[in-house]
């Protein structure tokens, strides 16, 4: 501005310095005004009226001006915040005992999308549905807006003063204080906790986990002398045996395991080997659905199976066995033989929380030499540090009045522990009850003070995922509400008013900085760690040897505990991939995520085998089923039945995480709460009920909202093409189905006959490959897509009406009971079916049937191969959806935004929730069609970034939301015009006579025979089986 030397004149008068002008120059209106008080001749009445008229007019005009609302004037533009340019921050997802290194995308200061952090050696850039959905929880209006006292809002000063006062009273009286938490992974939070304990030495820290792995740590204590949950490395395993462990879906560290597991399932013509996976389980878990050999067993059979396996391996190893139990589980002997054949390259895992089972599993792995290869005890994981025995003792002590104060640290035991009722009852006996829950949970509602924690996206913290593997939590938004970080609260109550950020940095300066040698400047170290998000130094070597005596004792306990009463049902309690332990119950994205196996949303239910359902007379069609009265011990609850192929006969499955009463408007009263049904075995929470389970038919009809109600693929080879590994070894095109059409006297490939002229792609040609061998069905992609593309939640009623809006879905097909049978018989799923997962989204057909039929040309083909949808032009005839052979188009049947009827669609129905919307993607209006765009906004952004730097986009720079979320790397997105891209290589694209041919023999188009010529390729499913079987 200072350089601007120009002078502006008010008029010629000023330039010429007209004396008349100079006389009036200081006045606002230099020219003569007809209003003058001095002039005696003036008519003051008229002037008064003039002035008043002008005044009223001016005042009313000024009042008409629209006030500026919610404008953000930048006096000084903040660094790094450029409108429309996203920023990415490395951080860590933390929820209970789960933690995942992530990268958070923010736009204009709002976190809108979470992706995996590829620098983490633990999760390797993978995410899952719960991580992807957690960004919506940040903008949940039902989080607490500030501290609470007795259910009423209060302020931090009052809360702190009263808590400290009471703590001091209790400390003076020598009263016991309990800190109840889930596994705390943060070393600095633990340090803050120890400061609190140092200040109040009568404090006891009780750790529990909603879904406990205490059985594993306890078994390790008994068999190796160290209580811990080891790390597993499935990528090194050639034979994997899982006894009821849903390690791809819910067990310990599913993202990590999926990453590792999928590495063993990738095959190509140069690498024709893959792991073989045996699964023995009661419910059909997602992991079981991926197994090569799956044997349904009852929970009581687990004991005999583990003992028999132990003895069989011991016999091979020439070691002493334990007292024998007979197991008739199919594939058991085969599994044992193959485990032994792959000593040191195998892995046996068990999902049971019975320490005795886990001891024998440890023994088996130990005899197989898997410790040090597929099992890593040097870096035990910290995800499950809970001690069920402590928790049970706490509940007893609380009821006995032994605790004067209880602090619930970011946990909800009244809901999510089997001791819930007992804790709730005993709370009255404690003088001071505090929760740090960030929302009014069942537990927070029962305590006196709530000191709400930040959401993980609002806080500074650190996390130790595994021993020596750290990950930083970095805030990506200023705290939305008047919340305070839990460790800061505890420091405050311990009398340390330090700001947690500097406390964290100090801790890192003193305890972590010295563990590296890259830099001697702490700031450099801190900045780099913050940038990477992770700091990994590796674990410490532990010399462990298996105590065979523990195995004998364990076998003895198993012989006593696992006795089947043949007349009764057994209950296998599990957790679902979407809802998990239920802590994110108020997240509608997770509630509406279709379960990988049952394809059900918005509910939990009893999974029951067809045989048992027949016996009870229950049938299920199109989600219409019945409620039954489930009685376990003294508890009776009314639960709907879902008939589940693969369910062990005589067992029932029921998921945890549902039946919340204080989750919020979304999560309340969804399903039933199974936590009270969890039993105890050898001190650990035991998730099977072996006796005393009965089911009574009520004939009350009920609808379960499933996104897919047809179970089999009807033997359609144009949809699912699969083969066994044996066949693949001989022919990489095994399992392929080649349709032919008749043309001029011969049969030719469908592509040879076409009315279409084809499209010319001169710049890019985007494509997608989906490896059905890698896809585990985990559905992380579906939630990632929902977050990226502003896909509305429609609620249970609309899912029942078959109107869910998912742009990407995972089709789950069971094999038919009788594949040779008639068309009706093909509809019936096998009792223990083979399962295939097929992610399905818009196929971006080159000969798109949708494009021709739109009367207004609202859906068109781009010059880069995308089938694009112009929402503004769409008039909603739905002809395109009808004519889509893949049925991937989704119609806006109602207005899903700003509509009280869809208030569960949190991201579009309140101002706070709307902050999660991706500003690059339109929120669709009522009456228009929508579908997968191949994340065109990301493609455009990537192309723009490359153009600014005058280069071509680099492969991998542009990534679809589903592909980047996939923990199994099953989805490859890229430019098929770029010969160096991953997709070109995966498809072995070769140019011949100006035509690009796909050289990869596994690659096929779904519904090739109709020659819509998609840009999405599927890779055949290969099972590591001797032969195909139902």
């Amino acid at each position: 501005m200072s350089n601007n030397q120009k002078t502006y004149w008010k008029g010629l008068e000023q330039l010429t310095n007209d004396p008349e002008y100079v006389k009036h120059a200081d006045k606002e209106f230099p020219e003569y005004l007809p209003v003058s008080e001095q002039d005696p001749n003036s008519n003051s009445r008229r002037d008064f009226l003039k002035l008043m008229g002008f005044g009223i007019a001016a005042a009313s005009l000024a009042a008409c001006e629209a006030p500026v609302r919610k404008a953000i004037p930048y006096l000084n533009k903040p660094m790094d915040v450029d409108p429309s340019i996203p920023n990415y921050y490395a951080s860590t997802y933390v929820n209970g005992g789960d933690a995942v290194s992530v990268v958070v995308k923010t736009r204009e200061g709002r976190p809108i999308k979470i992706e995996g952090n590829k620098f983490s050696s633990v999760t390797m850039g993978g995410t899952n549905a719960q991580v992807e959905a957690s960004v919506l929880s940040l903008y949940d209006k039902e989080r607490l807006e500030g501290p609470m006292k007795g259910g009423q809002p209060t302020n931090w000063d009052t809360l702190d003063a009263e808590v400290i006062e009471k703590l001091e009273e209790i400390a003076a009286a020598g009263g016991q204080i309990a800190l109840v938490s889930n596994s705390i992974l943060s070393p600095t939070t633990n340090k803050a906790g120890s400061e609190f304990i140092a200040k109040y030495p009568t404090t006891k820290h009780i750790t529990y986990d909603a879904i406990s792995a205490y059985g594993i740590s306890e078994s390790n204590r008994r068999s190796f002398g160290t209580a811990m949950v080891p790390s597993y490395d499935f990528s090194k395993a050639k034979t994997i045996v899982s006894i009821g462990a849903d390690f791809l879906g819910t067990w310990i560290s599913p993202i990590e395991f999926t990453k590792q597991y999928s590495k063993t399932r990738k095959i190509n013509e140069h690498h024709r080997e893959m792991s073989r996976h045996f699964q023995f389980e009661s419910n059909l878990s997602m992991t079981g659905a991926n197994a090569d050999y799956r044997t349904p067993i009852k929970p009581t059979d687990e004991g005999a199976l583990v003992v028999s396996m132990y003895n069989a391996i011991a016999a091979k190893a020439g070691q002493a066995g334990v007292s024998a139990m007979a197991s008739d589980a199919t594939h058991m002997q085969q599994a044992v033989n193959e485990l032994w054949a792959h000593k040191g390259e195998s892995l046996v895992v068990a999902g049971s929380n019975d320490p005795n089972i886990q001891i024998l599993v440890n023994g088996i792995n130990s005899m197989l030499g898997n410790y040090g290869t597929t099992i890593n005890t040097d870096s035990p994981v910290h995800f499950r540090k809970g001690n069920d025995a402590d928790m049970a003792q706490f509940a007893k002590d609380l009821n006995a009045g032994n605790y004067s104060a209880v602090f619930f640290v970011d946990c909800n035991p009244i809901y999510d522990s089997p001791e819930g009722a007992s804790v709730a009852a005993g709370l009255a006996k404690a003088g001071l009850t505090v929760s740090t829950s960030d929302r009014m949970t069942e537990t927070a509602a029962a305590v006196e003070y709530v000191a709400p924690n930040h959401h993980f996206l609002e806080q500074w913290n650190d996390v130790e995922l595994k021993e020596g593997h750290y990950s930083l939590v970095q805030p990506t938004i200023r705290p939305i509400f008047d919340t305070r970080q839990t460790p800061e609260s505890f420091l405050k109550w311990a009398g340390n008013s330090v700001e947690y950020y500097s406390y964290l940095q100090d801790n890192w300066r003193s305890n972590f900085f010295n563990r590296q040698s890259d830099t001697s400047n702490f700031q450099t170290f801190w900045d780099k760690t913050l940038y990477d998000g992770v700091f990994e130094v590796g674990g410490s070597s532990k010399n462990l040897s298996f105590d065979a005596a523990a195995a004998s004792t364990a076998a003895g306990s198993i012989a006593i505990n696992y006795k089947a009463e043949s007349t009764q049902y057994q209950l296998a309690i599990y957790s679902t991939v979407g809802i998990g332990d239920g802590s994110q119950g108020n997240n509608p994205w997770l509630q509406e995520m279709s379960d990988p196996v049952t394809k059900a949303t918005w509910d939990n239910y009893i999974t029951m085998s067809q045989a048992d359902a027949n016996e009870l007379g229950i049938s299920m069609r199109e989600g219409n089923t019945e409620k039954v009265n489930l009685t376990v011990g003294g508890e009776t609850m009314s639960v709907p039945v879902l008939i589940q192929p693969g369910q062990a006969v005589g067992t029932l499955g029921l998921a945890l995480g549902y039946g919340r009463t204080m989750a919020g408007r979304v999560g309340n009263e969804v399903g039933v709460n199974a936590y009270p049904l969890v039993t105890k075995l050898d001190g650990a929470n035991f998730y099977s009920v072996l006796a005393g389970v009965s089911v009574e038919r009520t004939k009350e009809s009920y609808k379960i909202a499933q996104t897919q109600t047809h179970q089999t693929y009807m033997g359609r080879e144009n949809v699912i093409q699969e083969a066994t590994l044996e066949e693949y070894k001989h022919d990489t095109g095994a399992g392929r189905w080649h349709p032919h059409v008749y043309k001029g006297g011969e049969f030719v490939a469908p592509g040879e006959v076409s009315l279409w002229k084809g499209h010319e792609y001169n710049n890019h040609h985007w494509g997608l490959t989906i490896d059905m061998n890698s896809c585990t069905g985990c559905s992380a992609c579906t939630v990632a897509c929902q977050a990226e593309n502003n896909i509305p939640v429609v609620g249970k009623e609309e899912v029942l009406n078959r109107r869910e809006m998912a742009w990407i879905r995972i089709d789950r097909y069971y094999s038919s009971a009788n594949p040779e049978g008639g068309k009706k018989e093909l509809e019936i799923a096998a009792d223990n079916p083979e399962v295939t997962f097929q992610p399905m989204m818009c196929q971006h057909c080159n000969n798109a049937p949708c494009e021709t039929v739109c009367p207004v040309a609202a859906t068109t083909h781009s010059t880069e191969g995308l089938n694009q949808m112009t929402y503004n032009r769409c008039i909603g005839t739905r002809y395109c959806a009808n004519n889509c052979p893949y049925k991937v188009r989704r119609f806006n049947w109602f207005k899903y935004h700003d509509n009280t009827q869809f208030d569960k669609n949190l991201s579009m129905n309140n101002d706070l929730g709307k902050m999660v919307l991706n500003p690059d993607v339109t929120v669709r209006a009522r009456g228009v069609m929508e579908k997968c765009t191949m994340c065109v906004q990301r493609i455009q952004a990537g192309k723009l970034a490359a153009k600014r730097e005058d280069r071509r986009p680099v492969d991998g720079e542009i990534e679809m939301a589903c592909a980047s979320a996939c923990p199994a790397d099953a989805i490859i997105f890229g430019d098929m015009k770029d010969p160096e891209s991953k997709i070109s290589k995966a498809l072995h694209l070769k140019e011949k006579d100006g035509e690009v041919k796909v050289g990869e023999k596994r690659a096929y188009h779904v519904l090739e025979e109709i020659n819509v010529n998609p840009n999405v390729w599927y890779f055949t499913k290969i099972r590591n089986k001797e032969k195909t079987e139902a």
Binding site: H710, Y713, R716, K824, V853, R873, Y879, Y886, F891, W893
Partner: protein, 453 residues
Amino acid sequence: MQVTSPVRTPLITGGKTVHDVTEDVCRQVEGKPSKSWLMAFTVAGGVFIIGLLAVIATLWEGIGMWGLNKTVGWAWDITNFVWWVGIGHAGTLISAVLLLFRQKWRMAINRASEAMTIFAVICAAMFPILHMGRPWLGAYWALPLPNTFGSLWVNFNSPLLWDVFAISTYFSVSLVFWYLGLVPDFATIRDRATGIRRKIYGALSLGWDGAAKTWSRYESVSLILAGLATPLVLSVHTIVSFDFATSVIPGWHTTIFPPYFVAGAIFSGFAMVLTLMLVTRKVFKLEDYITIEHIELMNIIIIVTGSIVGIAYITEFFISWYSGVPAEQYAFFNRMQGPYWMAYWAMMTCNVISPQLFWIKKIRTSIAATFILSIVVNIGMWFERFVIIVTSLHRDYLPSSWVMFYPTIYDIGVYLFTFGLFFSAFLLFAKFFPVINMAEVKSIVKSSSEKTA
């Protein structure tokens, strides 16, 4: 004018004179509305209002009020559309094709059936508009109008756009044809009327003077319009069938659709004409004009078209097997044995079996039997469209997307709305317009010198 042999049985019975014709037809127009008319109109109006509520709810809340879903994007809406269009075929066929074939028996029924055509096409046209997600835009965006959106233009590849042209052409030609025929009759009414009615009918009759030259022009235009309308009878339903035939969905993708749809349309159109005429002749005492012979001739057309439809069904079924395409085979298996088997067998029974009863002379000359069967045929034809649309869509290629469609009360309500509209309009027509073409019928009344039957 061609000459008719005096030995032929007269088409008009009861020894009607030319004056009787005028009296019989004008009586309804000039008299006070009868009790039965008032009752019928109240019912039709009531149905219209109830249906209108469903239409308003749909427009206000969205298409979600209907039972459609992610897989079944069309159901009752397009079923009703095709059904009404089909019904709208008889009028033009009777007036145009039969005119060209010099079938004089058409004269007593062509007026009413043309009116029926107009109203049926109006009802049909409701659905393409109402079924849109955004009808307030779609109603004109689907037309090739010059616009300020840049180069935005309609998609001439889309069969829906062809529908727009086909239906609008058919509607305008039918309307002109119908109105032109009304002009001399309006003039007759005008000449008998006084006061305000004279003015209204005077305006409607476009200054008809009854001069020989006027008559000559009238005849020429009728013939030209008949020539124009004839191909339309075939084209409209051919194009409607393209909505399905050009798609990739098994059960839709069928080359037999055009003739099959046209035959079906005439079939259902004649059935609807019969339903309406049987009531009209009774209520308006026009038994001498619409005789048993008319009924019998129309029933014969129903046998012919019904049989064509039946052969089409069987051919379709055979081809699905013969094609060796599994998806196609499953689509037809699913029609017969899938969850909507009732709709398929309802269609088969009503459309293929029931019209065969007309081979028996006693049945095809029985008014009661004809009335019942005419309704049965239209029920069958509704199910035919339902079977084609819903059973093909609900289980197409990927079994993961297989669903069921269940109608809601709004689906039913919108259908009722068109019924209300149709019958209200028809009743108004029957009351205020001459239901029989007086001018034409007078040409076949035996003159006084001839012996009357």
